[in-house]
Symmetry: C2
């Protein structure tokens, strides 16, 4: 595909995310100055998956830079569901911990849902509990799943009209596709959930004003799947730093598009930090 | 609109519902014979709305016929959120109560969500809690919202293929539109949520293999909104026993359609009774 001369505007998450972190850091400092309490994020890593370990370390580093304390729990790969639930319950009850992040995926022998549910919703700053999901769906107070919440912030920052827009979500995972659809619906978009069993996927995507790709397949969404002028959110992050959208093709059709990396990714971690400070303020 | 000669097959809920109730009654009897425990549904009615009182009485009568005990709580119209929450908490803790039904809508001064959340998910046989919603969305164990769950039963009974079908849900209430969409998604349908802010609603409905009307407006969905052969589920029940779908028009285009009354309605109450017996068996 050769360039047609028009190219989409990039939706850059990096600067917006940096602003969010700066504000969270200010609030963390204020809280500590006024009450002596430093917001604390507990990270729980099970097993020795390299990518997971890298993510956790990155989150800890960012926390530190924002003046947020961190507690690191690392459990062996053969940890049982019961052991992990016990650990998460302990952190949920620990008054010095304000936010809990269970790095996922967890090893296959663990019931991931049971583990997530052991996190007190008041400390669920990653928005993974059933309570968090229902709260997003019903507009009730609660923490947002970080990537979906970050995507909504990005759409707002770029003044994308959501009311009445047709948003097509590709993928239906419990912490990405499903909640982002519910948040878009709460913003009065018309929302279509698509997935691996969807027929005529490209035709459906072609009706979208907003496309959220959350499918985990490199370059899955092609340029000719898009309606000219569509807003394209790429929540994928596949091997080789490649998103779920074929960027070069899509950028010639879309009006706005998130780059990978530098689009959705930075928003995710910033929301995690922001929500950790929220939790500390509320739990204080 | 004059008849074209082809008319949709009716999806009758009445017989299927009667079968479900008969099975629930058998199980209730067996439980009582074996353990001495009679399943018990507590109904809570706030205020003196005539329609609500009628619904509650009907549910109690049906329970009785199925060998399910009932406990009736009637609170004055000026009940506060705190008072209602206290009552629901008491019922949640009462070992002799297995299922709790809060008749809604509740009077305007009450925080309905707070009231619903006072119901123990283990007794939430009407499927109104946030836990029930997330369980439906994630395929986790829990009770289904009765109307959505009843609709799925009806679709199954009439062998409507759901996998890959495009289902358009009109309406997004927490106990009807949102959960029915999640149940359809869990059955591998492609699901579009539409609502009052949706643009070009008729055009979107026209793409549906399955239409679920849950909007509460008499005769809202017209015949020319439907794709020929579509399956039409009318979850509306408006003044004058009229559904949300213009029945005469729709029946000439659809392949299958629920009548009002006698379609979705009977399924709702049957699932309530079935889930009350489920709860009693589990809580015993």
């Amino acid at each position: 595909m050769t360039s047609t001369g028009t190219t989409a505007q990039l939706m850059i998450g990096t600067d917006l995310a940096a602003e969010m972190v700066a504000k969270a850091a200010e609030r963390a400092k204020k809280l500590q100055d006024e009450t002596g309490v430093q917001p604390c994020l507990a990270t729980v890593l099970v097993g020795d998956d390299l990518a997971s370990a890298t993510y956790v370390r990155m989150k800890q580093n960012r926390s530190k830079k924002a003046g947020i304390g961190s507690r690191s729990v690392v459990l062996p790969a053969e940890t049982t569901t019961e052991e992990l639930v016990a650990e998460l319950t302990k952190l949920s009850e620990d008054p010095e911990v304000h936010g809990i992040l269970l790095q996922h995926p967890v090893p296959a022998q663990i019931d991931e849902r049971a583990a997530f549910e052991a996190i007190d919703p008041a400390k669920d700053v990653d928005g993974v509990t059933m309570h968090a999901f229902a709260a997003m769906a019903f507009g009730e107070p609660g923490f947002r799943s970080c990537t979906p919440g970050g995507i909504l912030r990005l759409l707002e920052a770029y003044d994308v009209p959501l009311e009445g827009a047709h948003a097509v979500v590709i993928g239906r995972s419990p912490i990405l596709g499903k909640p982002v659809g519910m948040l878009l619906l709460a913003s009065n978009a018309t929302v279509t959930y698509t997935h691996s069993r969807t027929r005529d996927l490209a035709d459906i995507v072609r009706t979208a004003d907003i496309v959220v790709a959350a499918v985990g397949k490199a370059n899955f969404v092609r340029g000719d799947w898009l309606k000219p002028g569509a807003v394209v959110i790429d929540a994928g992050y596949n091997e080789g730093n490649v998103g779920d959208v074929h960027f070069e093709e899509a950028a010639q059709v879309a009006s706005l598009i998130t780059p990978v990396p530098g689009g959705v990714g930075p928003m995710t971690i910033s929301l995690l930090l922001e929500q950790t400070v929220d939790a500390a303020e509320r739990l204080r």
